[in-house]
Amino acid sequence: MKEFLVRVLVEPKPELLDPQGQAVERALAELGLSAQGTRVGKYITLRVKALSAQQARARVDEVARKFLANPVIERYSLELEEL
């Protein structure tokens, strides 16, 4: 068994208006940074044991699709690191 650190990045779908991102972007402008496309999402880290990176990814992908992200409003990506 190997252990993996998985980082799940969840963000609002590109077509969804993200008021949180807009508010942050306005504040960034106040701070002197003119930024575009600011989006605020979620960052979830977890550790799982699995036989392979592929298996770890598949298992986390399943719960990400079902639970960690809502596909109606969000998209997600996974990053894996073997510990």
Binding site: P12, L16, L17, P19, Q20, F67, N70, V72
Partner: protein
Amino acid sequence: MRAAVVVFPGSTCDHDTYYVLKELLGVETDLVWYRETHLDPYSLIVLPGGFSYGDYLRAGAIARFAPLVQALPEYVERGRGIVLGICNGFQILTEARLLPGALTKNLSQRFLCKTVKVRIENNATALTRLFQLGEIVELPIAHGEGRYVASAETLESLKRDRQIVLRYEGENPNGSLEQIAGICDKTGTVFGMMPHPERNSEKLFGSGDGVRFFQSVLSSL
């Protein structure tokens, strides 16, 4: 005729809803713990407002995996009765995919607690049959994640199948797609609404019109 008001960890409107059903309308009503899966005794199941599981991750995202919610698809499939989700209950039903679309953060980024006007968009449903089509009712809202969103295809099918039951009238408080405040599923037995009818069910709290949603449901059973 027996009604269930579901109690999740973090439900806050369960007792108000129980009061309306039991005390105002005289319906045999049980407060049912979220671990219950035997739903056959009930012809009406209300998922009340509140903050189940502290709204962690997304409002309703964790409650949808509660044993009782997991038992709902079979209840609906067998046509056992009506399911009504109010506010957090609506969020749970969309997370559970028993209702299409999703409820996300209000455009204003603020928690809204106020009275709004709601238009009866379809009165040929169990929830609204005692209202006039186009009737405007005042109801309280209290939510941070009430902006209804759905894909273009979902919106199209909601319209085609007359599943849009309530719309905000005038002001769109949370930025919901097409002012949508309440919908039903294709079977017409699962309802979700963001406004709180139980909080305006007596004249003491306003027009008292909220009680008519419960009366509608009860009269259709």
